[in-house]
Amino acid sequence: MNSEIASMIGKRLVIAVITLIIVSFAVFFATSMLPGDTATILLGQAATPDAVAGLRHAMHLDEPAVLRFLRWIAGLVTGDLGTSYANNMPISKLISARFVNTMKLAGITALISIPFALTLGITSAVLRGTLYDRVVTVLTIGVISVPEFMVASTAVLIFAVYLKWLPAISFVNEVHSLYDLLRMYAMPVVTLTFVVSAQIIRMTRAAVIETLSTPYVEMALLKGASRSRIVLRHALPNALGPIVNALALSLSYLIGGVIIIETIFNYPGIAKLMVDAVATRDLPLIQTCAVIFCAGYLILITIADIIAIISNPRLR
Protein backbone atom coordinates (compact mmCIF):
# COMPACT_ATOMS: atom_id res chain seq x y z
CA MET A 1 0.00 0.00 0.00
CA ASN A 2 2.81 2.42 0.84
CA SER A 3 4.34 2.06 -2.59
CA GLU A 4 1.00 3.14 -3.99
CA ILE A 5 1.11 6.33 -1.94
CA ALA A 6 4.69 6.93 -3.06
CA SER A 7 3.81 6.49 -6.71
CA MET A 8 0.81 8.81 -6.40
CA ILE A 9 2.98 11.46 -4.77
CA GLY A 10 5.62 10.98 -7.45
CA LYS A 11 3.00 11.40 -10.15
CA ARG A 12 1.75 14.57 -8.47
CA LEU A 13 5.27 16.01 -8.33
CA VAL A 14 5.82 15.28 -12.02
CA ILE A 15 2.55 17.06 -12.87
CA ALA A 16 3.67 20.05 -10.79
CA VAL A 17 6.98 20.29 -12.61
CA ILE A 18 5.30 19.97 -16.02
CA THR A 19 2.77 22.65 -15.09
CA LEU A 20 5.55 24.97 -13.94
CA ILE A 21 7.32 24.50 -17.28
CA ILE A 22 4.14 25.21 -19.25
CA VAL A 23 3.44 28.26 -17.11
CA SER A 24 6.95 29.72 -17.42
CA PHE A 25 6.73 29.07 -21.16
CA ALA A 26 3.43 31.01 -21.25
CA VAL A 27 4.87 33.84 -19.16
CA PHE A 28 7.95 34.07 -21.36
CA PHE A 29 6.03 34.14 -24.60
CA ALA A 30 3.36 36.52 -23.35
CA THR A 31 6.07 39.01 -22.48
CA SER A 32 7.94 38.38 -25.73
CA MET A 33 4.90 39.44 -27.74
CA LEU A 34 5.66 43.07 -26.88
CA PRO A 35 5.09 45.14 -30.02
CA GLY A 36 8.01 47.55 -29.59
CA ASP A 37 11.64 46.56 -29.92
CA THR A 38 13.24 46.58 -26.48
CA ALA A 39 16.62 47.81 -27.68
CA THR A 40 15.03 50.76 -29.48
CA ILE A 41 12.96 51.63 -26.41
CA LEU A 42 16.01 51.47 -24.15
CA LEU A 43 18.23 53.61 -26.33
CA GLY A 44 15.58 56.18 -27.14
CA GLN A 45 14.72 58.00 -30.35
CA ALA A 46 18.16 59.33 -31.14
CA ALA A 47 19.95 55.96 -31.25
CA THR A 48 21.80 55.02 -34.42
CA PRO A 49 20.79 51.75 -36.12
CA ASP A 50 24.29 50.40 -35.36
CA ALA A 51 23.88 51.02 -31.64
CA VAL A 52 20.46 49.34 -31.66
CA ALA A 53 21.86 46.33 -33.50
CA GLY A 54 24.77 46.14 -31.08
CA LEU A 55 22.53 46.23 -28.03
CA ARG A 56 20.18 43.68 -29.59
CA HIS A 57 23.14 41.39 -30.06
CA ALA A 58 24.45 41.99 -26.54
CA MET A 59 21.00 41.22 -25.06
CA HIS A 60 20.60 38.14 -27.30
CA LEU A 61 17.45 39.71 -28.75
CA ASP A 62 18.50 38.69 -32.27
CA GLU A 63 18.30 35.00 -31.38
CA PRO A 64 15.17 32.91 -31.94
CA ALA A 65 12.64 32.99 -29.09
CA VAL A 66 13.07 29.30 -28.24
CA LEU A 67 16.80 29.75 -27.70
CA ARG A 68 16.18 32.80 -25.51
CA PHE A 69 13.63 30.81 -23.52
CA LEU A 70 16.11 27.99 -22.91
CA ARG A 71 18.80 30.49 -21.95
CA TRP A 72 16.39 32.15 -19.53
CA ILE A 73 15.32 28.84 -17.97
CA ALA A 74 18.95 27.78 -17.59
CA GLY A 75 19.63 31.11 -15.89
CA LEU A 76 16.69 30.66 -13.52
CA VAL A 77 17.87 27.20 -12.50
CA THR A 78 21.46 28.30 -11.91
CA GLY A 79 20.37 31.39 -10.00
CA ASP A 80 21.43 33.88 -12.66
CA LEU A 81 18.24 35.86 -13.00
CA GLY A 82 19.53 38.36 -15.54
CA THR A 83 19.61 42.14 -15.41
CA SER A 84 16.76 44.56 -14.97
CA TYR A 85 16.24 46.79 -18.02
CA ALA A 86 15.08 49.76 -16.03
CA ASN A 87 18.01 50.35 -13.68
CA ASN A 88 20.59 47.88 -14.92
CA MET A 89 20.88 46.06 -11.61
CA PRO A 90 21.10 42.29 -11.29
CA ILE A 91 17.59 40.99 -10.64
CA SER A 92 18.71 38.63 -7.89
CA LYS A 93 19.94 41.67 -5.95
CA LEU A 94 16.68 43.58 -6.48
CA ILE A 95 14.56 40.65 -5.47
CA SER A 96 16.32 39.08 -2.49
CA ALA A 97 15.51 41.70 0.17
CA ARG A 98 11.98 42.24 -1.11
CA PHE A 99 11.34 38.53 -1.29
CA VAL A 100 12.08 38.28 2.44
CA ASN A 101 9.68 41.19 3.08
CA THR A 102 6.85 39.55 1.16
CA MET A 103 7.44 36.22 2.87
CA LYS A 104 7.27 38.01 6.22
CA LEU A 105 3.96 39.63 5.33
CA ALA A 106 2.51 36.38 3.95
CA GLY A 107 3.85 34.33 6.84
CA ILE A 108 2.42 36.55 9.56
CA THR A 109 -0.92 36.69 7.73
CA ALA A 110 -1.03 32.90 7.37
CA LEU A 111 -0.15 32.43 11.05
CA ILE A 112 -3.07 34.61 12.10
CA SER A 113 -5.67 33.78 9.50
CA ILE A 114 -5.39 29.97 9.37
CA PRO A 115 -6.32 29.21 13.00
CA PHE A 116 -8.86 32.05 13.04
CA ALA A 117 -10.55 31.04 9.80
CA LEU A 118 -10.47 27.29 10.43
CA THR A 119 -12.22 27.80 13.75
CA LEU A 120 -14.91 29.98 12.18
CA GLY A 121 -15.31 27.71 9.17
CA ILE A 122 -15.65 24.47 11.11
CA THR A 123 -17.90 25.90 13.82
CA SER A 124 -20.22 27.53 11.30
CA ALA A 125 -20.47 24.24 9.39
CA VAL A 126 -21.29 22.34 12.59
CA LEU A 127 -23.79 24.97 13.69
CA ARG A 128 -25.25 25.13 10.21
CA GLY A 129 -28.45 27.10 9.85
CA THR A 130 -28.09 28.99 13.14
CA LEU A 131 -27.90 32.77 13.42
CA TYR A 132 -24.12 32.46 14.01
CA ASP A 133 -23.70 30.56 10.75
CA ARG A 134 -25.83 33.07 8.86
CA VAL A 135 -23.79 36.01 10.12
CA VAL A 136 -20.48 34.31 9.26
CA THR A 137 -21.74 33.35 5.80
CA VAL A 138 -23.07 36.80 4.97
CA LEU A 139 -19.84 38.46 6.13
CA THR A 140 -17.62 36.10 4.14
CA ILE A 141 -19.68 36.53 0.98
CA GLY A 142 -19.53 40.28 1.54
CA VAL A 143 -15.73 40.27 1.78
CA ILE A 144 -15.34 37.91 -1.18
CA SER A 145 -17.60 40.01 -3.41
CA VAL A 146 -15.71 43.27 -3.00
CA PRO A 147 -12.29 44.16 -4.38
CA GLU A 148 -9.31 43.87 -2.02
CA PHE A 149 -8.56 47.57 -2.26
CA MET A 150 -11.99 48.30 -0.82
CA VAL A 151 -11.25 46.14 2.22
CA ALA A 152 -7.93 47.96 2.57
CA SER A 153 -9.33 51.46 2.17
CA THR A 154 -12.14 50.71 4.60
CA ALA A 155 -9.56 49.54 7.13
CA VAL A 156 -7.55 52.73 6.59
CA LEU A 157 -10.69 54.84 7.00
CA ILE A 158 -11.67 53.15 10.23
CA PHE A 159 -8.31 52.65 11.95
CA ALA A 160 -6.26 55.56 10.62
CA VAL A 161 -8.68 58.33 9.65
CA TYR A 162 -11.44 58.05 12.25
CA LEU A 163 -9.87 56.19 15.18
CA LYS A 164 -6.32 57.46 14.48
CA TRP A 165 -4.82 54.30 15.98
CA LEU A 166 -2.50 53.49 13.14
CA PRO A 167 -0.47 55.36 10.54
CA ALA A 168 -2.31 55.66 7.22
CA ILE A 169 -0.82 54.68 3.89
CA SER A 170 2.81 55.59 4.39
CA PHE A 171 5.17 52.77 5.13
CA VAL A 172 8.21 53.84 7.14
CA ASN A 173 11.46 51.97 7.24
CA GLU A 174 12.65 53.36 10.57
CA VAL A 175 11.75 50.92 13.26
CA HIS A 176 12.80 51.89 16.75
CA SER A 177 10.87 49.45 18.88
CA LEU A 178 8.64 46.43 18.82
CA TYR A 179 5.71 48.82 19.10
CA ASP A 180 6.73 50.55 15.87
CA LEU A 181 7.05 47.18 14.18
CA LEU A 182 3.58 46.13 15.28
CA ARG A 183 2.07 49.41 14.16
CA MET A 184 3.79 49.08 10.81
CA TYR A 185 2.58 45.61 10.05
CA ALA A 186 -0.87 45.95 11.62
CA MET A 187 -2.75 47.46 8.70
CA PRO A 188 -1.44 45.30 5.83
CA VAL A 189 -1.72 42.16 7.92
CA VAL A 190 -5.25 42.93 9.13
CA THR A 191 -6.42 43.62 5.58
CA LEU A 192 -4.81 40.54 4.11
CA THR A 193 -6.14 38.43 6.96
CA PHE A 194 -9.66 39.56 6.14
CA VAL A 195 -9.31 38.73 2.46
CA VAL A 196 -7.69 35.34 2.99
CA SER A 197 -9.84 34.31 5.94
CA ALA A 198 -13.04 34.88 3.99
CA GLN A 199 -11.87 32.37 1.39
CA ILE A 200 -10.72 29.81 3.96
CA ILE A 201 -13.95 30.07 5.95
CA ARG A 202 -16.12 29.61 2.89
CA MET A 203 -14.20 26.63 1.55
CA THR A 204 -13.70 24.94 4.95
CA ARG A 205 -17.38 25.32 5.71
CA ALA A 206 -18.31 23.71 2.41
CA ALA A 207 -15.83 20.85 2.94
CA VAL A 208 -17.06 20.08 6.46
CA ILE A 209 -20.73 20.29 5.46
CA GLU A 210 -20.09 17.82 2.66
CA THR A 211 -18.44 15.42 5.09
CA LEU A 212 -21.22 15.85 7.63
CA SER A 213 -23.80 14.78 5.07
CA THR A 214 -22.09 11.45 4.30
CA PRO A 215 -23.76 8.15 5.26
CA TYR A 216 -21.15 7.19 7.86
CA VAL A 217 -21.77 10.37 9.81
CA GLU A 218 -25.48 9.55 9.77
CA MET A 219 -24.53 6.07 10.96
CA ALA A 220 -22.53 7.56 13.85
CA LEU A 221 -25.49 9.76 14.69
CA LEU A 222 -27.85 6.77 14.64
CA LYS A 223 -25.64 4.67 16.88
CA GLY A 224 -25.86 7.47 19.43
CA ALA A 225 -22.42 9.06 19.30
CA SER A 226 -22.23 12.49 20.89
CA ARG A 227 -22.10 15.53 18.66
CA SER A 228 -18.52 16.40 19.52
CA ARG A 229 -17.47 12.79 18.93
CA ILE A 230 -19.13 12.77 15.51
CA VAL A 231 -17.37 15.94 14.49
CA LEU A 232 -13.94 15.27 15.99
CA ARG A 233 -13.60 11.51 15.52
CA HIS A 234 -15.67 10.79 12.42
CA ALA A 235 -15.99 13.89 10.29
CA LEU A 236 -12.80 15.91 10.75
CA PRO A 237 -10.22 13.20 9.93
CA ASN A 238 -12.03 12.58 6.66
CA ALA A 239 -12.49 16.25 5.93
CA LEU A 240 -8.76 16.87 6.41
CA GLY A 241 -7.91 16.41 2.74
CA PRO A 242 -10.57 18.82 1.45
CA ILE A 243 -9.76 21.29 4.25
CA VAL A 244 -6.05 21.34 3.44
CA ASN A 245 -6.95 21.74 -0.20
CA ALA A 246 -9.21 24.65 0.67
CA LEU A 247 -6.39 26.15 2.74
CA ALA A 248 -3.89 25.92 -0.11
CA LEU A 249 -6.35 27.39 -2.62
CA SER A 250 -7.21 30.22 -0.24
CA LEU A 251 -3.58 30.95 0.54
CA SER A 252 -3.16 31.43 -3.17
CA TYR A 253 -5.55 34.37 -2.76
CA LEU A 254 -2.71 35.76 -0.70
CA ILE A 255 -0.92 36.28 -4.01
CA GLY A 256 -3.72 38.37 -5.49
CA GLY A 257 -4.20 40.11 -2.17
CA VAL A 258 -0.52 40.79 -1.69
CA ILE A 259 -0.30 42.56 -5.07
CA ILE A 260 -3.02 45.03 -4.05
CA ILE A 261 -2.05 45.40 -0.40
CA GLU A 262 1.64 46.02 -1.07
CA THR A 263 0.68 48.71 -3.56
CA ILE A 264 -1.85 50.49 -1.38
CA PHE A 265 0.38 50.43 1.73
CA ASN A 266 3.55 51.04 -0.23
CA TYR A 267 5.10 47.93 1.28
CA PRO A 268 8.57 47.14 -0.11
CA GLY A 269 7.76 43.62 -1.25
CA ILE A 270 8.13 41.62 -4.41
CA ALA A 271 4.56 42.28 -5.60
CA LYS A 272 5.09 46.04 -5.46
CA LEU A 273 8.31 45.48 -7.39
CA MET A 274 6.39 43.59 -10.04
CA VAL A 275 3.64 46.20 -10.36
CA ASP A 276 6.32 48.88 -10.81
CA ALA A 277 8.07 46.65 -13.33
CA VAL A 278 4.85 46.36 -15.34
CA ALA A 279 4.49 50.14 -15.30
CA THR A 280 8.04 50.55 -16.68
CA ARG A 281 7.75 47.43 -18.89
CA ASP A 282 10.85 45.90 -17.34
CA LEU A 283 10.46 42.48 -18.93
CA PRO A 284 13.15 40.35 -17.25
CA LEU A 285 11.99 41.55 -13.86
CA ILE A 286 8.30 40.82 -14.68
CA GLN A 287 9.17 37.34 -15.91
CA THR A 288 11.16 36.49 -12.82
CA CYS A 289 8.55 37.83 -10.39
CA ALA A 290 5.77 36.01 -12.25
CA VAL A 291 7.64 32.72 -12.13
CA ILE A 292 8.38 33.16 -8.41
CA PHE A 293 4.69 33.73 -7.71
CA CYS A 294 3.56 30.82 -9.87
CA ALA A 295 6.13 28.54 -8.28
CA GLY A 296 4.93 29.57 -4.82
CA TYR A 297 1.35 28.87 -5.81
CA LEU A 298 2.21 25.49 -7.33
CA ILE A 299 4.21 24.48 -4.25
CA LEU A 300 1.21 25.27 -2.04
CA ILE A 301 -1.19 23.32 -4.26
CA THR A 302 1.17 20.36 -4.54
CA ILE A 303 1.74 20.19 -0.77
CA ALA A 304 -2.03 20.25 -0.29
CA ASP A 305 -2.51 17.41 -2.76
CA ILE A 306 0.20 15.35 -1.10
CA ILE A 307 -1.36 15.87 2.33
CA ALA A 308 -4.72 14.89 0.86
CA ILE A 309 -3.19 11.68 -0.53
CA ILE A 310 -1.47 10.82 2.75
CA SER A 311 -4.49 11.61 4.88
CA ASN A 312 -6.84 9.49 2.77
CA PRO A 313 -7.57 6.50 5.03
CA ARG A 314 -8.41 4.28 2.06
CA LEU A 315 -4.81 4.46 0.88
CA ARG A 316 -3.23 3.58 4.20
Binding site: V23, V146, S153, V161, V278, Y297
Partner: protein, 284 residues
Amino acid sequence: MTQSAPSTSAAPGIFGYTFSFVGILAFAVILFWAVVALFAPQIAPYPIGKIVDMDYFGPMSSKLWLGSDYLGRDMLSRIIFGARYTLGIALAGVLIASSSGVILGMAAAVVGGWFDTALSRFMDAMISIPSKLFGLVVVAAVGSSLPALILTLAFIYTPGSYRFARALAVNVNTMDFITVARIRGENTLYLAISEILPNIIRPVLADFGIRFVFIVLLLSGLSFLGLGVQPPLADWGALVHENIQGLSFGSAAVIAPSIAIASLTISVNLLIDNLPRKIRDRSA
Protein backbone atom coordinates in the same frame (compact mmCIF):
# COMPACT_ATOMS: atom_id res chain seq x y z
CA MET B 1 -23.42 28.30 -0.61
CA THR B 2 -26.05 30.12 1.41
CA GLN B 3 -29.06 28.13 2.29
CA SER B 4 -32.03 29.37 0.42
CA ALA B 5 -33.83 30.91 3.35
CA PRO B 6 -37.55 30.26 3.35
CA SER B 7 -38.62 33.28 1.38
CA THR B 8 -41.43 35.02 3.17
CA SER B 9 -42.43 37.20 0.26
CA ALA B 10 -42.16 35.19 -2.90
CA ALA B 11 -43.24 37.16 -5.93
CA PRO B 12 -45.73 35.68 -8.33
CA GLY B 13 -44.05 33.37 -10.78
CA ILE B 14 -42.31 34.75 -13.83
CA PHE B 15 -41.93 32.20 -16.59
CA GLY B 16 -43.09 29.63 -14.07
CA TYR B 17 -40.30 30.39 -11.60
CA THR B 18 -40.65 32.07 -8.24
CA PHE B 19 -38.05 34.59 -7.16
CA SER B 20 -37.25 35.52 -3.60
CA PHE B 21 -37.35 39.09 -2.35
CA VAL B 22 -33.54 39.33 -2.10
CA GLY B 23 -33.25 38.06 -5.66
CA ILE B 24 -35.61 40.75 -6.95
CA LEU B 25 -33.79 43.45 -5.00
CA ALA B 26 -30.44 42.27 -6.42
CA PHE B 27 -31.91 42.24 -9.91
CA ALA B 28 -33.19 45.78 -9.42
CA VAL B 29 -29.69 47.02 -8.48
CA ILE B 30 -28.18 45.34 -11.56
CA LEU B 31 -30.90 46.82 -13.76
CA PHE B 32 -30.27 50.23 -12.20
CA TRP B 33 -26.57 50.15 -13.11
CA ALA B 34 -27.36 48.88 -16.60
CA VAL B 35 -29.72 51.83 -17.17
CA VAL B 36 -27.16 54.26 -15.72
CA ALA B 37 -24.48 52.89 -18.03
CA LEU B 38 -26.73 53.07 -21.10
CA PHE B 39 -28.00 56.59 -20.51
CA ALA B 40 -24.92 58.09 -18.84
CA PRO B 41 -24.77 61.24 -20.99
CA GLN B 42 -28.43 62.01 -20.27
CA ILE B 43 -28.21 61.34 -16.53
CA ALA B 44 -24.88 62.89 -15.55
CA PRO B 45 -25.32 66.39 -14.10
CA TYR B 46 -21.96 67.67 -15.45
CA PRO B 47 -19.74 66.79 -18.44
CA ILE B 48 -17.18 64.16 -17.45
CA GLY B 49 -14.02 66.27 -17.76
CA LYS B 50 -15.38 69.60 -16.55
CA ILE B 51 -13.82 71.14 -13.47
CA VAL B 52 -16.76 72.37 -11.44
CA ASP B 53 -15.20 72.91 -8.01
CA MET B 54 -12.39 75.31 -7.21
CA ASP B 55 -11.37 73.05 -4.38
CA TYR B 56 -10.14 69.49 -4.79
CA PHE B 57 -11.66 66.61 -2.81
CA GLY B 58 -14.61 68.86 -2.07
CA PRO B 59 -17.22 67.54 0.40
CA MET B 60 -20.64 66.25 -0.50
CA SER B 61 -23.09 69.10 -1.09
CA SER B 62 -26.45 69.74 -2.70
CA LYS B 63 -24.65 70.93 -5.83
CA LEU B 64 -22.12 68.10 -6.00
CA TRP B 65 -23.84 65.09 -4.49
CA LEU B 66 -20.70 63.04 -4.08
CA GLY B 67 -18.21 65.89 -3.78
CA SER B 68 -15.39 66.55 -6.20
CA ASP B 69 -12.31 64.56 -7.18
CA TYR B 70 -8.59 65.39 -7.08
CA LEU B 71 -8.99 67.93 -9.87
CA GLY B 72 -12.30 69.34 -8.69
CA ARG B 73 -14.45 67.38 -11.16
CA ASP B 74 -17.92 66.20 -10.19
CA MET B 75 -17.62 62.75 -8.66
CA LEU B 76 -21.22 61.68 -9.36
CA SER B 77 -20.85 62.33 -13.08
CA ARG B 78 -17.55 60.47 -13.16
CA ILE B 79 -19.09 57.44 -11.47
CA ILE B 80 -22.05 57.50 -13.86
CA PHE B 81 -19.68 57.48 -16.82
CA GLY B 82 -17.42 54.96 -15.08
CA ALA B 83 -20.36 52.53 -15.06
CA ARG B 84 -20.07 52.39 -18.85
CA TYR B 85 -16.49 51.16 -18.73
CA THR B 86 -16.82 48.78 -15.79
CA LEU B 87 -20.02 47.17 -17.05
CA GLY B 88 -19.16 47.34 -20.73
CA ILE B 89 -15.66 45.88 -20.51
CA ALA B 90 -16.68 43.21 -18.02
CA LEU B 91 -19.70 42.21 -20.11
CA ALA B 92 -17.69 42.00 -23.32
CA GLY B 93 -14.98 40.04 -21.51
CA VAL B 94 -17.36 37.56 -19.92
CA LEU B 95 -19.24 37.06 -23.19
CA ILE B 96 -16.05 36.09 -24.98
CA ALA B 97 -14.73 34.01 -22.08
CA SER B 98 -17.94 32.08 -21.51
CA SER B 99 -18.77 31.43 -25.13
CA SER B 100 -15.28 30.24 -26.02
CA GLY B 101 -15.07 28.21 -22.79
CA VAL B 102 -18.42 26.54 -23.47
CA ILE B 103 -17.67 25.84 -27.12
CA LEU B 104 -14.28 24.31 -26.31
CA GLY B 105 -15.69 22.43 -23.32
CA MET B 106 -18.47 20.85 -25.38
CA ALA B 107 -16.03 20.06 -28.17
CA ALA B 108 -13.68 18.37 -25.69
CA ALA B 109 -16.52 16.30 -24.24
CA VAL B 110 -17.92 15.23 -27.62
CA VAL B 111 -14.63 14.61 -29.42
CA GLY B 112 -12.84 13.11 -26.41
CA GLY B 113 -9.54 11.27 -26.80
CA TRP B 114 -6.23 13.08 -27.08
CA PHE B 115 -7.95 16.36 -28.04
CA ASP B 116 -9.75 16.36 -24.70
CA THR B 117 -6.63 15.32 -22.75
CA ALA B 118 -4.33 17.89 -24.34
CA LEU B 119 -6.83 20.75 -24.07
CA SER B 120 -7.71 19.92 -20.47
CA ARG B 121 -4.04 19.69 -19.45
CA PHE B 122 -3.35 23.05 -21.05
CA MET B 123 -6.38 24.69 -19.44
CA ASP B 124 -5.44 23.27 -16.03
CA ALA B 125 -1.99 24.79 -16.36
CA MET B 126 -3.58 28.13 -17.27
CA ILE B 127 -5.88 27.95 -14.26
CA SER B 128 -2.87 27.47 -12.01
CA ILE B 129 -1.70 31.01 -12.79
CA PRO B 130 -3.27 33.36 -10.23
CA SER B 131 -5.59 35.68 -12.15
CA LYS B 132 -4.17 38.99 -10.95
CA LEU B 133 -0.65 37.86 -11.78
CA PHE B 134 -1.78 36.67 -15.18
CA GLY B 135 -3.39 40.06 -15.72
CA LEU B 136 -0.19 41.90 -14.83
CA VAL B 137 1.91 39.79 -17.21
CA VAL B 138 -0.48 40.13 -20.14
CA VAL B 139 -0.99 43.86 -19.58
CA ALA B 140 2.79 44.25 -19.55
CA ALA B 141 2.89 42.41 -22.86
CA VAL B 142 -0.01 43.86 -24.83
CA GLY B 143 -0.71 47.12 -23.04
CA SER B 144 -4.01 48.37 -21.67
CA SER B 145 -6.00 49.67 -24.59
CA LEU B 146 -9.69 48.81 -24.23
CA PRO B 147 -9.74 45.92 -26.77
CA ALA B 148 -6.52 44.53 -25.24
CA LEU B 149 -8.07 44.70 -21.77
CA ILE B 150 -11.23 42.92 -22.88
CA LEU B 151 -9.27 40.14 -24.59
CA THR B 152 -6.94 39.81 -21.61
CA LEU B 153 -9.84 39.41 -19.19
CA ALA B 154 -11.56 36.97 -21.54
CA PHE B 155 -8.38 34.95 -21.95
CA ILE B 156 -7.81 34.72 -18.20
CA TYR B 157 -11.32 33.45 -17.45
CA THR B 158 -11.78 31.11 -20.42
CA PRO B 159 -10.07 28.13 -18.70
CA GLY B 160 -12.43 28.29 -15.71
CA SER B 161 -15.47 28.44 -17.98
CA TYR B 162 -14.04 25.59 -20.05
CA ARG B 163 -13.58 23.38 -17.01
CA PHE B 164 -17.11 24.07 -15.78
CA ALA B 165 -18.75 23.48 -19.16
CA ARG B 166 -16.68 20.38 -19.87
CA ALA B 167 -17.61 18.79 -16.55
CA LEU B 168 -21.30 19.34 -17.34
CA ALA B 169 -21.00 18.25 -20.96
CA VAL B 170 -19.14 15.04 -20.04
CA ASN B 171 -22.07 14.06 -17.81
CA VAL B 172 -24.62 14.75 -20.53
CA ASN B 173 -22.43 13.00 -23.08
CA THR B 174 -22.94 9.63 -21.37
CA MET B 175 -26.74 9.86 -21.67
CA ASP B 176 -28.67 7.48 -23.88
CA PHE B 177 -30.08 10.14 -26.18
CA ILE B 178 -26.53 11.13 -27.13
CA THR B 179 -25.74 7.52 -28.01
CA VAL B 180 -28.91 7.41 -30.09
CA ALA B 181 -27.92 10.60 -31.89
CA ARG B 182 -24.45 9.22 -32.54
CA ILE B 183 -25.89 6.02 -33.98
CA ARG B 184 -28.20 8.12 -36.11
CA GLY B 185 -24.98 9.49 -37.60
CA GLU B 186 -25.18 13.11 -36.41
CA ASN B 187 -21.98 15.13 -36.66
CA THR B 188 -20.04 16.72 -33.80
CA LEU B 189 -21.49 20.18 -34.36
CA TYR B 190 -25.05 18.90 -34.18
CA LEU B 191 -24.30 16.84 -31.06
CA ALA B 192 -22.81 19.85 -29.29
CA ILE B 193 -25.39 22.44 -30.26
CA SER B 194 -28.64 20.50 -30.43
CA GLU B 195 -28.13 17.75 -27.89
CA ILE B 196 -25.69 18.98 -25.25
CA LEU B 197 -26.08 22.76 -25.15
CA PRO B 198 -29.80 22.83 -24.25
CA ASN B 199 -29.06 20.50 -21.35
CA ILE B 200 -26.26 22.53 -19.82
CA ILE B 201 -27.36 26.07 -20.67
CA ARG B 202 -28.94 26.94 -17.31
CA PRO B 203 -25.97 26.16 -15.03
CA VAL B 204 -23.73 27.72 -17.67
CA LEU B 205 -25.72 30.95 -17.37
CA ALA B 206 -25.30 30.91 -13.59
CA ASP B 207 -21.57 30.40 -14.11
CA PHE B 208 -21.68 33.34 -16.54
CA GLY B 209 -22.86 35.57 -13.70
CA ILE B 210 -20.18 34.37 -11.28
CA ARG B 211 -17.51 34.89 -13.91
CA PHE B 212 -18.86 38.38 -14.56
CA VAL B 213 -18.20 39.19 -10.90
CA PHE B 214 -14.66 37.81 -11.14
CA ILE B 215 -14.00 39.93 -14.19
CA VAL B 216 -15.40 43.10 -12.59
CA LEU B 217 -13.17 42.48 -9.58
CA LEU B 218 -10.06 41.78 -11.66
CA LEU B 219 -10.70 44.77 -13.92
CA SER B 220 -11.17 47.02 -10.90
CA GLY B 221 -8.02 45.59 -9.34
CA LEU B 222 -5.95 46.23 -12.46
CA SER B 223 -7.37 49.72 -12.85
CA PHE B 224 -6.68 50.35 -9.19
CA LEU B 225 -3.03 49.48 -9.80
CA GLY B 226 -3.07 52.02 -12.64
CA LEU B 227 -2.67 49.27 -15.23
CA GLY B 228 -6.26 48.90 -16.40
CA VAL B 229 -8.38 51.58 -18.04
CA GLN B 230 -6.09 54.55 -18.77
CA PRO B 231 -6.85 58.26 -18.32
CA PRO B 232 -8.71 60.25 -19.55
CA LEU B 233 -11.13 57.31 -19.51
CA ALA B 234 -11.91 55.93 -16.06
CA ASP B 235 -13.79 52.90 -14.81
CA TRP B 236 -14.65 52.57 -11.12
CA GLY B 237 -11.32 51.00 -10.21
CA ALA B 238 -9.44 53.79 -11.97
CA LEU B 239 -11.54 56.36 -10.08
CA VAL B 240 -10.32 54.87 -6.81
CA HIS B 241 -6.76 54.86 -8.16
CA GLU B 242 -6.72 58.51 -9.18
CA ASN B 243 -8.33 59.68 -5.96
CA ILE B 244 -6.44 57.48 -3.51
CA GLN B 245 -4.70 60.54 -2.02
CA GLY B 246 -8.08 61.58 -0.70
CA LEU B 247 -8.26 58.50 1.50
CA SER B 248 -6.51 60.22 4.39
CA PHE B 249 -9.20 62.95 4.37
CA GLY B 250 -11.95 60.36 4.21
CA SER B 251 -13.04 61.81 0.87
CA ALA B 252 -16.15 60.46 -0.83
CA ALA B 253 -14.15 60.34 -4.06
CA VAL B 254 -12.46 57.16 -2.82
CA ILE B 255 -15.39 55.56 -1.09
CA ALA B 256 -18.17 56.15 -3.61
CA PRO B 257 -16.64 54.23 -6.55
CA SER B 258 -15.76 51.37 -4.17
CA ILE B 259 -19.36 51.22 -3.02
CA ALA B 260 -20.51 51.24 -6.65
CA ILE B 261 -18.33 48.19 -7.39
CA ALA B 262 -19.48 46.42 -4.24
CA SER B 263 -23.16 47.08 -4.97
CA LEU B 264 -22.79 45.55 -8.41
CA THR B 265 -20.76 42.47 -7.44
CA ILE B 266 -22.74 41.68 -4.31
CA SER B 267 -26.00 42.03 -6.26
CA VAL B 268 -24.89 39.61 -8.97
CA ASN B 269 -23.74 37.12 -6.33
CA LEU B 270 -27.00 37.44 -4.43
CA LEU B 271 -29.08 37.13 -7.57
CA ILE B 272 -27.34 33.89 -8.50
CA ASP B 273 -27.64 32.54 -4.96
CA ASN B 274 -31.34 33.29 -5.02
CA LEU B 275 -32.07 31.91 -8.45
CA PRO B 276 -34.73 29.24 -8.38
CA ARG B 277 -33.10 25.88 -7.71
CA LYS B 278 -34.39 24.70 -11.07
CA ILE B 279 -32.11 27.13 -12.92
CA ARG B 280 -29.12 27.07 -10.63
CA ASP B 281 -28.52 23.39 -10.05
CA ARG B 282 -25.82 21.61 -11.95
CA SER B 283 -27.99 18.64 -12.75
CA ALA B 284 -29.84 19.80 -15.79
